[in-house]
């Protein structure tokens, strides 16, 4: 996407450059150093990835803090590889869905389901698949791990991009048609820029979720095979195995540093840059800022460098694809078109039935109805946990979020922290809780549950903060003048005002909690293994045992629960918020 950053503004960049003088300034020096360091790190990490698999056994994870930076780097690279894959997937699939009605008919419902499927459950199948693809090389396992992260990131990005493509403003659409834009030019000049703000935001959310999965997917045990990819996740697994308390602390610290760096070096510059693609024609009062973005714009040499780096992208944007002789557009009668649609739908339904039969047979080969019932029973237990915990988290964080949101000084300081906490992979913190439970002899069925919302509750907090700080001053003043206070103040002013934000946060939190249950319901510390009865533990155990039919059953059951939960609760709430409680 760098090719959209036509940084050199104005008509005559060369003239301006000469006038400004070619002497590098301090900003250049810093920027150059940063850039060079990043390049060296990426090359090193990429080289490491393609080593033979056997080296992993020869060089197991060493709990030496000196090695930690390298592990952190490998983890980060996996994240970005997955991000690149997600973006590529987004651009192709979402564009296809927006352009072709037949593709849309399949893609959109499929994505809707895919984004509800527990990602961690996939791991069992994909590891086997990718290891077969690159036998004897680390790359296979790397791919499996990257794929796991990809599956946690891609869907909402596709949705966002698809939504944007469908809502391109009519007048800009007319301009591009009137000037006869080619499909490619339309994409780079209109559709991609228009979709950028939404896509950037969703990418950020995906990244936050991704850290959780990168940690969970590095140390993979499937049946008898255990592979530990060098990374923070594996470090953590090793530390837990060895009951090394200090090492867990190091992992937490490393993760915090990585996320802070990522926030400063990637997140903020991109948000600051994407601000120019916001569609509103009015200048916003509060523009997102980033010191790095400012640095890149201020440093003179850096500008040249950015221009040079952006060159391939810009060249790509400027490509004049040869005009294809357009295939004569066949005008079908309304009847024929409807028949064709029906044939297509029939084909899709046939495919679905076939797939269901295949999965059913796979599961039924070794499992009985009793197992299905058991899975659903455990699903109910997990659902009760998720619902209860979201309710508890809401009771705690909504008042706190409102309190913070109504105080701008606090909001400014605490909002970034809430966002940071949401991105922080909570599974790094699990060992501490496990030690506590084991020491106090608590009931794991109850006390393991909070782990599920440990990482996801922050979504509720920062959304509520955002909602409370967006409450119009007029309304707050009106409430004060009429002496509205106490419960009435909450019921009439605050709760309706923050409701749309709250629903967004709670929806994200609940989805994340289902996923987290796979890691949170079965945890260990050295040889202490704690389990809560639930669907998450069911899947985790089946994965551990390499029992594929059971994994498939668990995933299917959990998907059904998540979809039902979304349809029955969150969707209606969301629609209600959209219709009734929007403040504009």
């Amino acid at each position: 996407m760098a090719f959209l950053s036509e940084g050199a503004k104005g008509a005559r960049p060369v003239v301006r450059f000469v006038r400004a003088g070619a002497m590098p300034n301090w900003a250049d020096l810093i920027a150059l150093l940063l850039l060079a360091a990043v390049a060296v790190l990426i090359i090193h990490g990429a080289a490491e990835m393609s080593r033979p698999l056997a080296r992993l056994d020869a060089e197991p994870i060493v709990l030496d803090p000196a090695r930690l930076p390298e592990y952190a780097l490998r983890t980060t690279l996996r994240m970005f590889a997955a991000l690149a894959a997600s973006l590529l997937f987004t651009f192709t699939v979402a564009t296809l869905a927006a352009r072709s009605r037949k593709a849309e008919l399949v893609i959109i419902p499929a994505l809707d389901i895919l984004q509800s499927v527990p990602v961690l459950g996939f791991l069992t199948f994909t590891v086997t698949f990718f290891m077969g693809l690159f036998p004897g090389r680390q790359l296979g396992v790397e791919c499996a791990s990257i794929f796991a992260i990809f599956t946690s990131q891609a869907w909402n990005m596709v949705f966002s991009f698809y939504q944007s493509l469908r809502t391109v403003p009519a007048d800009l659409d007319e301009v591009s048609r009137q000037f006869g834009f080619s499909a490619w030019r339309r994409f780079v000049r209109l559709e991609l820029p228009f979709a950028t703000p939404g896509l950037v935001w969703n990418t950020m959310m995906s990244m936050s979720g991704g850290w959780f999965f990168v940690v969970a997917s590095e140390a993979i045990t499937v049946g008898d095979t255990t592979v530990s990819l060098p990374g923070i996740g594996s470090w953590l697994a090793t530390a837990i195995e060895a009951k090394d308390f200090a090492a867990v602390g190091w992992a937490v610290a490393a993760m915090a540093v990585v996320i802070a760096l990522y926030d400063q070096l990637v997140f903020r510059p991109i948000v600051a840059w994407a601000d120019k693609f916001r569609f509103e024609q009015t200048a916003s009062q509060v523009r997102p800022r980033s010191w790095l973005y400012e640095l890149a714009r201020r440093a003179r040499l850096m500008r040249l460098l950015v221009a040079a780096l952006a060159w391939p992208g810009r060249a790509l944007a400027a490509i004049e694809w040869p005009l294809l002789a357009r295939a004569p557009h066949m005008r079908l009668g309304a009847r024929a078109a409807r028949l064709l649609d029906m044939a297509w739908i029939a084909l899709v339904i046939l495919g679905c039935v076939g797939a269901a039969w295949l999965v059913g047979r796979f599961i039924a080969a070794s499992l009985r109805w009793g197992d299905v019932l058991q899975a659903f029973g455990l699903g109910l237990a997990t659902m009760a946990r998720v619902a209860l915990l979201i309710a508890v988290a809401s009771l705690i964080w909504v008042p706190i979020g409102v309190w913070i949101g109504l105080r701008p000084a606090w909001t400014e300081r605490l909002q970034p922290i809430a966002q940071f906490l949401a991105a922080f992979p909570a599974n790094v913190l699990f060992p501490f809780v496990v030690i506590a439970i084991a020491a106090a002899q608590l009931d794991p069925d109850i006390w393991l549950s909070p782990l599920m919302v440990l990482g996801t509750q922050w979504y509720i907090l920062f959304n509520v903060i955002a909602g409370a700080s967006a409450l119009p001053t007029d309304m707050k003043d009106a409430a004060r003048i009429f002496g509205i206070s106490g419960w009435q103040w909450w019921r009439r002013l605050v709760l309706p005002g923050i409701f749309p934000y709250y629903v967004t946060g709670a929806l994200t939190a609940s989805g994340g909690s289902w996923n987290a249950s796979i890691v949170a319901e079965a945890v260990s510390w050295g040889d202490t293994h704690l389990q809560a009865a639930g669907l998450g533990a069911f899947i985790a155990n089946a994965t551990q045992a390499g029992d594929f039919p059971r994994v498939a059953l668990g995933i299917a059951a959990m998907s059904v629960f998540v979809i039902a939960f979304n349809r029955a609760l969150w969707r209606p709430l969301y629609r209600f918020a959209e219709r009734r409680l929007r403040l504009d």
């Binding site: 503004k9 007319e174 301009v175 048609r177 820029p193 120019k276 509103e280 024609q281």
Partner: protein, 435 residues
């Protein structure tokens, strides 16, 4: 030689009809039997009320819409040359917010695959001509509305079109800015500094049309037809205060409000019966207009241009309100005048409840959709009906947007007249009033 060139025709529109709505269903006829010839070296205005299909016609000429029937032909401006090229200026400016002024102007050339150096040179020249010097590197959101429309103009002109199409180009601007832009454009035109051969503009502002155009086509609005062609022979630059200017404006008002022969129109709005597409006019505006006209100095009969001036309204913003009053038989619109009927006089003198009753009665009698909703609610045992049902019915006659707008209008009116209640969350009409 010159004389023949002046009359060379650039675009011919023949027998164009356009229908919006479901294919197969009874669509909404927006353009009916329209003929038009745009000649070299003239500014032609398409003038009519909103919904008279002017924009549809303009978009047909721009090649953005293929009309349901009839042809649009672009003729070569030079003997043996290619067909006339067109370019368009939009009411909403339609600038790419992520591109700078310069990039926005270049975008059309880019699509035409002009080489980068050439592109820049031409874009800078256009920016220079249109008075945007110094703003090359600004983004649209940093500019005022007037400056944005200048960018829109530069972008349209830089591709060297033969014909410049303008869709209400000044209606999103404030009065002063719009006037400056009009004057600048007319100066460029009369000095021959723009590379274009003629201009076709859509407007609903009568004075604007008289100020700028050589020829004005008046559109009737049910369905869109050319009902008159008016040549403007006033010398340029034109003076708004000039008596002949005022007379022409007054004349056009009269033409636009005169009663059409009954076989051509059934009412002020497209569609008939339940399928009548209605504008969203608030009951407050209606009450306000009734009060204003019934009071001195109008005393029940007002000249629309004067009334608009008094009320600080753009004259054509009054049309929809006046037309709804006409539909409800509160007023009559004829000869550029709005004349209140006795019911409106009673309305003006009544208190809140009596006003509501009077309004409800007229609504039931003269707006078939309102009567229909009420009848359905009365017939049903539950006295409720989903709004979806009426929307579907309407969509047989008109596009979903029109259907939604019409239903919204009738919902508001019915609520005011307390004919029925509406629950937005449940999307449900009912008879019960909230306790």
């Amino acid at each position: 030689m010159i004389v023949t060139q002046d009359h060379r025709c650039l675009v011919k529109v023949n027998d164009v009809r356009h229908v919006y709505g479901k294919p197969g269903g009874a669509g909404l006829l927006v353009l009916d039997d329209v003929d038009l010839a745009l000649n070299d070296n003239e500014i032609v205005g398409l003038l009519g009320r909103s919904g008279s299909g002017k924009s549809t016609l303009l978009r047909s000429i721009a090649g953005l819409i293929t009309p349901s029937e009839g042809t649009v032909t672009w003729l070569p401006p030079e003997p043996g040359g290619g067909p006339a090229s067109v370019s368009m200026v939009f009411q909403s400016f339609a600038l790419f917010p992520w591109l700078t002024v310069l990039q926005n102007v270049e975008v059309g050339l880019e699509a035409k695959r002009v080489r980068p150096e050439e592109r820049r040179r031409r874009a800078l020249a256009a920016i220079d001509m249109i008075g945007l010097d110094g703003f090359e590197s600004a983004y649209p959101k940093e500019l005022s509305g007037g400056m944005r429309q200048r960018v829109g103009l530069a972008r349209a002109l830089v591709v060297d079109p033969d014909i410049l199409l303008m869709d209400e180009p000044f209606s999103a601007l404030d009065v002063l800015t719009a006037e400056t832009l009009r004057t600048d454009l007319l100066d460029l035109w009369s000095e021959g500094r723009m590379p274009i051969r003629s201009i076709l503009m859509v407007t609903h502002n009568i004075e604007e049309a008289v100020l700028m155009c050589d020829r004005i086509l008046l559109f009737s609005s049910n369905p869109g037809r050319v009902m008159a062609e008016i040549k403007v022979d006033l010398t340029r630059p034109r003076d708004r205060q000039d008596p002949s200017f005022r007379a022409l404006v007054e004349h056009i008002y009269v033409r636009l409000t005169e009663k059409a022969p009954p076989e051509a129109r059934e009412g002020p709005f497209p569609g008939t019966g339940i399928g009548m597409a209605l504008p969203q006019v608030s009951t407050n505006s209606m009450a306000g207009l009734i009060e204003a006209v019934s009071a001195a100095p109008h005393n029940g009969k007002a000249d629309l241009p004067h009334l608009a001036q008094d009320l600080r309204y753009e004259a054509d913003d009054l049309f929809p309100i006046a037309e709804v009053l006409q539909l409800l038989r509160f007023a009559e619109l004829a000869g550029g005048d709005l004349r209140l009927l006795p019911a409106a006089r009673r309305y003006a003198e009544a208190d809140v409840d009596a006003r509501k009753q009077l309004f409800a009665q007229h609504l039931l009698n003269h707006v078939p959709l309102a009567a229909h909703i009420r009848r359905v609610l009365d017939d049903r045992a539950t006295h409720t009906a989903p709004a979806r049902r009426f929307r579907d019915e309407l969509e047989d006659f008109m596009s979903p947007e029109y259907a939604a707008q019409t239903l919204k209008a009738v919902t508001q009116w019915g609520r005011y007249g307390e004919l029925y209640a509406f629950d937005e969350a449940a999307d449900l009409f009912s008879l019960d009033n909230p306790a």
